[in-house]
């Protein structure tokens, strides 16, 4: 017995060397931004192997909470910091934090590729998502029930759509909530009468709806999102406690450099610069 436990403990000590890395940047937060952060980290570490960048998801709230309790240097967030969160930062670190927009994202609505509907107004989208419009016929499509996909209420995208499309109203009870944007995309790609939403980075194998405004149909293109013409776009942020310095600064500088912004485009978001 003793021998077994002994070897277990030795194995454990070998497995978990208690050495700390020099030059560590921790980045935590929004699941929407994890792929982006991860790609940045990969590219950045190729150039400066001495610095380790750790990227973890969990959600915007998780990242901002970690910023407040000191477990991360950079918080990724797909929404602006809330007053309550600023107050906690002030109470603990006597700062209201530093906000750096690092990319832009258009929240797009997805439909199946076989769906003839190509553009909807924001009001129509609201009607669908609160449950007042239940058939594609009401939107000029085929006579079929609308299957609504939504995100979990823990996601930043959920809150964004609720605030900017539903005017704060509740989602319809029949809206299925899926745990990730990819799950939404996958479901919409499979199901021909469905509608879903999410970041445009994920839009593969489905059709992105244009937003109808007046006589114009506005597509979620890089140009329209950059100029703010596409009405449903948002900034993606890095939050820090203080002005960036040291390794964190080098990493952020890289993210905002032309090379870093090229990564943004590659991942499917839109550059801020």
């Amino acid at each position: 017995m003793k021998a077994i436990f002994g070897s277990l403990v030795i194995g454990l000590l070998l497995a978990l060397p208690l050495s700390a890395h020099a030059g560590n940047v921790t980045v935590k937060g929004s699941d929407t931004m994890v792929i982006l952060g991860q790609r940045w980290a990969e590219e950045f570490m190729k150039k400066t192997p001495a610095t380790k960048v750790q990227v973890t998801g969990g959600g915007s709230g998780v990242g901002l909470a970690a910023l407040q309790n000191g477990t991360t240097e950079i918080a990724m967030s797909s929404r602006e910091i809330k007053d309550a969160e600023k107050q906690k930062l002030r109470a603990r670190y006597n700062t209201i934090g530093v906000e750096i927009p690092v990319a832009k994202d258009g929240v797009t609505f997805y439909v199946n590729e076989a769906n003839p509907v190509t553009a909807l107004t924001v009001e129509q989208l609201k009607g669908v998502y609160v449950g007042d419009i239940t058939n594609w016929k009401q939107l000029g499509g085929p006579d079929a029930p609308i299957i609504i996909y939504s995100r979990e209420n823990s996601s930043g995208t959920y809150v964004f759509v609720k605030d900017h499309v539903l005017d704060g109203d509740d989602y319809a009870a029949s809206a299925q909530t899926l745990p990730g944007t990819a799950a939404v995309v996958n479901a919409v790609a499979k199901e021909k009468n469905s509608i879903g939403y999410g970041g445009s980075a994920y839009a593969k194998g489905i059709k992105e709806l244009k937003i109808k405004k007046g006589n114009e149909d506005i597509a979620p293109t890089a140009e329209n999102i950059k100029t703010g013409k596409y009405p449903l776009s948002r900034d993606l942020y890095f939050y820090l406690r203080n002005k960036p310095s040291g390794d964190a600064k080098t990493f952020i500088d890289f993210a905002l450099s032309p090379e870093g912004q090229a990564v943004v485009t590659k991942v499917g978001y839109f550059p801020v610069k």
Binding site: A20, E42, K204
Partner: protein, 303 residues
């Protein structure tokens, strides 16, 4: 009933039960076939030895394998002493019909039935927010050090979850050690603890190992308890400290199935990950089954 209808009803019922058994076997077969068919091609050395790349759409799962191994190792170190000693108490030390032994048994049975997600809440509420915060305060950490999700808290949470598994198998193993061995040892003047350490526990060792293996297999596959106690979405580094977060095969499966940027592109990786996870748990289960049948045969032979 005429003999003929009796026979017909009998046959129908027997085949109905046979059908049920067949469906159970078929279900397992279909799952295994599907996973092996789609996943086997992707399990290469590169896949096993590299971290994920290209936003989870490429590379391998090494950090997840390592994280799972480190997690279950810590869990085993935590659960085995407690589980084995509890079983020793129940079978060797507790007076017959003792009320406290009965309470322990009831508690163990109920512990086994607590939903795994509740263990996750417990890990968060007790280990992270209570013990972790207490330790930070006691050790004078300015920033949160222990009061955050990490591999230690996740493994302790899993240790509580697997405690009943270890207790039940150890008790079975103790029962298989013949009474004569104990009385012989005691008659030779050995004390109770000497008898325990030199006769009973060595005799029960295979059964105790079975318990450990079963606990590891259970612990390696559980995802719900580690959701809020330490599993991470993506980490390029392996866990280095007891408070580091870690990647985990089961959680990785969940993340890739629901949150990958391109489901079609990740499908082969996903299947391969599931295959590795299944192989791991099945291999552990198989080891447990083999050890157990051997001990049972030996125990049966010695009587």
């Amino acid at each position: 009933m005429t003999p003929n209808t009796r026979r017909a009803v009998g046959l129908a019922l027997t085949s109905l039960t046979g059908l049920a058994a067949f469906i159970i076997i078929a279900m397992l077969g279909i799952i295994l076939f599907n996973v092996v068919e789609n996943g086997a091609g992707g399990v290469t050395w590169t896949f096993l030895s590299k971290p994920p790349e290209d936003g989870m759409m490429g590379g391998g799962i090494f950090p997840a394998i390592f994280g799972t191994a480190a997690l279950t190792l810590l869990m085993t170190v935590a659960v085995m002493p407690v589980g084995v000693l509890t079983a020793v108490y129940l079978h060797e030390y507790a007076p017959p019909n003792s009320l406290s032994a009965r309470f322990v048994r009831v508690a163990v049975v109920n512990l086994a039935g607590v939903p795994s997600i509740v263990f996750g809440l417990f890990g968060l509420g007790f280990f992270i927010l209570f013990v972790g915060q207490g330790m930070d305060r006691a050790l004078g950490h300015e920033e949160m050090y222990w009061a955050q999700p990490g591999i230690l808290w996740a493994s302790l949470t899993l240790a509580v979850l697997t405690l009943p598994v270890v207790i039940v198998s150890t008790e079975e193993a103790l029962r298989a050690v013949p009474m004569d061995h104990r009385t012989a040892s005691l008659a030779l003047g050995a004390t109770q603890s000497q008898t325990l350490g030199r006769v009973v526990l060595p005799g029960a060792l295979p059964g105790i190992l079975t318990g450990a293996v079963l606990a590891i297999s259970r612990g390696a596959g559980e995802v719900a308890p580690i959701l809020f106690t330490g599993a991470a979405y993506f980490l390029p580094d392996l866990p280095t400290h007891l408070n580091s977060q870690f990647m985990h095969l089961g959680y990785h499966t969940y993340v890739m199935a629901t949150q990958s940027p391109d489901v079609e592109a990740t499908r082969p990786l996903l299947y391969s990950t599931v295959l590795v996870l299944l192989l791991l748990t099945f291999a552990l289960n198989l080891v447990a089954v083999i050890i157990r049948t051997r001990t049972r045969r030996k125990a049966a032979g010695s009587h």
